[in-house]
């Protein structure tokens, strides 16, 4: 299948198939970067895949004090789900359990849109009648008295209905170490792209899945075509020299953001070459009939590569 080779790395003539998702963004601020990160890490924990977690979430970027509504340092968190109602449910559970509880935190809308999701409006009753609504500067905030002092939270946040989930890149390497190195380099480059998150641990999935299983009731199971341990036994997509495969899944607020992240990740992986990094790049799809968005690797590969 490889049709294109850049810097000695083969690039499959295939595409990543991605889906429409509902997404939102919030800003969490805190007195220190460490506490902002702590609240965001807690909120985006167990949020790798909607298959088992209901939502895919991650830290998009860290914000300087002059980028946040209250002039404190913060983080921007993105959350993606399959439906608006599931997104709302996950948002308010995670806000209530992970951000409201985090010392020093405050929470604001991370994007603007006509349609809104409840933010403070969903957790205000924690104040048991002592919550205070304040409207100024075109925004509405809730102030909820807590043991530490006060939790300030904007009433609503925005909703994106045209977000894209499931953009992906497969890195196939000759050793586990080289494959991991390529994936780490790609993740580092992708994290610099705005409006995307990589929901899996460290941005990387080692257990990519296929749809369905031999067992009844399982909606996803191991992607045997890419398991090196099954090479030759199953209908494999691997070459004899491939020993390890890692995947990077990308969720973005727009298809342009996902494409930009894939472009950046591919360039970073390719720069390592086939020995130090991945020997082959590929992408996961379901034949193109399930997802609206197709990201062809050959379109995203760097046109000119400095050798």
């Amino acid at each position: 299948m490889p049709e294109l080779t850049i810097n000695g790395v083969a690039i499959d003539d295939t595409f990543a198939e991605a889906f429409d998702m509902r997404a939102t963004a919030i800003i969490i601020t805190a007195p220190t970067p460490a506490w902002a990160k702590e609240a965001a890490r807690s909120m985006t924990g167990f949020a790798t895949s909607i298959i088992g977690c209901g939502v895919e979430a991650g830290i998009e970027r860290f914000l300087e004090a002059d980028e946040t509504p209250d002039g404190r340092v913060g983080v921007r968190v993105l959350l993606f789900a399959g439906s608006t109602s599931e997104l709302q449910k996950q948002l308010q559970n995670r806000l209530g359990q992970c951000v409201l509880t985090a010392t020093g935190s405050a929470c604001y809308a991370g994007l603007e849109s006509a349609e809104k999701l409840k933010l403070g409006d969903a957790v205000r009753y924690f104040g048991d009648g002592w919550q205070i609504a304040k409207r100024f500067g075109g925004k509405r905030y809730w102030r909820i008295p807590v043991m530490e002092g006060e939790f300030v939270c904007e009433a609503t946040t925005g909703l994106v209905k045209t977000a894209v989930g499931g953009g992906n890149l497969l890195l196939l390497g000759k050793t586990p170490q080289a494959t991991r190195r390529a994936a780490e380099a790609a993740v580092e480059a992708m994290r610099k792209v705005a409006d995307v998150i990589l929901p899996f641990p460290g941005g990387i999935v080692r257990s990519g899945s296929k749809v369905g299983a031999k067992y009844k009731g399982m909606i996803a199971s191991t992607n045997d075509a890419y398991c090196p341990g099954l090479f030759g036994v199953v209908q494999s997509r691997l070459d004899p020299e491939i020993v390890s495969v890692l995947e990077i899944v990308i969720d973005g607020l727009s298809s342009q953001a996902v494409a930009e992240a894939m472009r950046a990740g591919m360039a970073a992986a390719l720069a390592l070459g086939p020995e130090a990094g991945a020997a082959r790049l590929s992408a996961g799809n379901y034949g193109g009939k399930l997802g609206k968005h197709h990201f062809h690797l050959k379109d995203l590969a760097p046109k000119e590569f400095p050798s």
Partner: protein, 268 residues
């Protein structure tokens, strides 16, 4: 296109109702039909032409040159555009206003911003009694928008205020934030006697005030809220922003003789 201007020729012989001279009502009118608008409040009919000279212009920006404390109802009910009075106004300036911007370069009489719902009102001088209050017999005072008074206000500022923001850069007469329901009233100078009398909810900030014993001192960090408020205030009132973001503000909850969910912040 430059502003539509009205020049006052001589002091008005009686109290006037200027609520017709607002951008949304003047839009589309010819100068001749503007001259026929009735301003009088007695049986003696007075029209615009009797008192003002008109310089035609864009009705979205109306300037009235020459004020009088007989100019009542200035900008009352306005919904858009800009109305500027170069002089002082009478009572009910900006009453029931819903949008747009009203500027009074002088003093305003009683009931300015009464029952206001939106938009911006700036008074460069002093405001009279019942700023942002209900009209006599009304149940709710100001319900939205922003009021900025560069000078001082009279008695009962923010009476029965329900929503919105009032900033008074000077002091006030007695009973500021009386019977307040919600919203924010900021008095940068000294608040008059009995601040927050029978206040239910809402926020009162004062540079100096003698609080009632029915306001109870509370503790706890409110700096995040005050930072947000200070940021919203800083473009138009750095003085109010400085008061609100101050390090040594004491917080009280009251009026405990009423619902008691209001708050008063006092600069130490």
């Amino acid at each position: 296109m430059s502003a539509l201007r009205f020049f006052l020729r001589e002091p008005p012989p009686e109290r006037l109702d200027l609520s017709v001279l607002r951008p949304d009502r003047l839009a589309g009118l010819s100068p001749a039909s503007m001259e026929r608008l009735v301003l009088s409040t007695t049986r003696a009919t007075l029209v615009v032409a009797d008192l003002f000279r008109i310089i035609p212009g864009d009705a979205e920006r109306v300037v009235i040159e020459g004020g009088s404390e007989r100019f009542d109802g200035l900008g009352a009910g306005m919904t858009r555009g800009e109305l500027i009075l170069e002089g002082s106004a009478g009572c009910r300036a900006g009453q029931g206003m819903r949008g747009g911007r009203l500027v009074i370069r002088g003093n305003a009489g009683a009931l300015a911003a009464a029952e206001m719902r939106g938009g911006e009102l700036e008074i460069t001088g002093d405001a009279g009694d019942f700023l942002g209050a209900p009209l006599p017999g009304g149940r709710l005072g100001m319900q939205g928008g922003v009021v900025l008074v560069r000078g001082s206000a009279g008695a009962r500022a923010g009476d029965r205020q329900r929503r919105g923001l009032i900033v008074i850069e000077g002091g006030t007469g007695p009973y500021p934030a009386s019977r307040m329901l919600a919203g924010t009233l900021i008095v940068c100078g000294e608040a008059g006697a009995m601040p927050g009398y029978l206040m239910r909810r809402g926020s009162l900030f004062a540079g100096k005030a003698a609080l009632l014993p029915t306001f109870l001192p509370v503790r706890g960090d409110t700096s995040v809220f005050r930072r947000l408020l200070a940021r919203a205030l800083s473009p138009f009132s750095p003085r109010a922003a400085a008061l609100v973001s101050g390090e040594n503000l004491a917080r009280f909850l009251g009026d405990q003789a009423s619902l008691g969910k209001g708050e008063a912040f006092l600069a130490a």
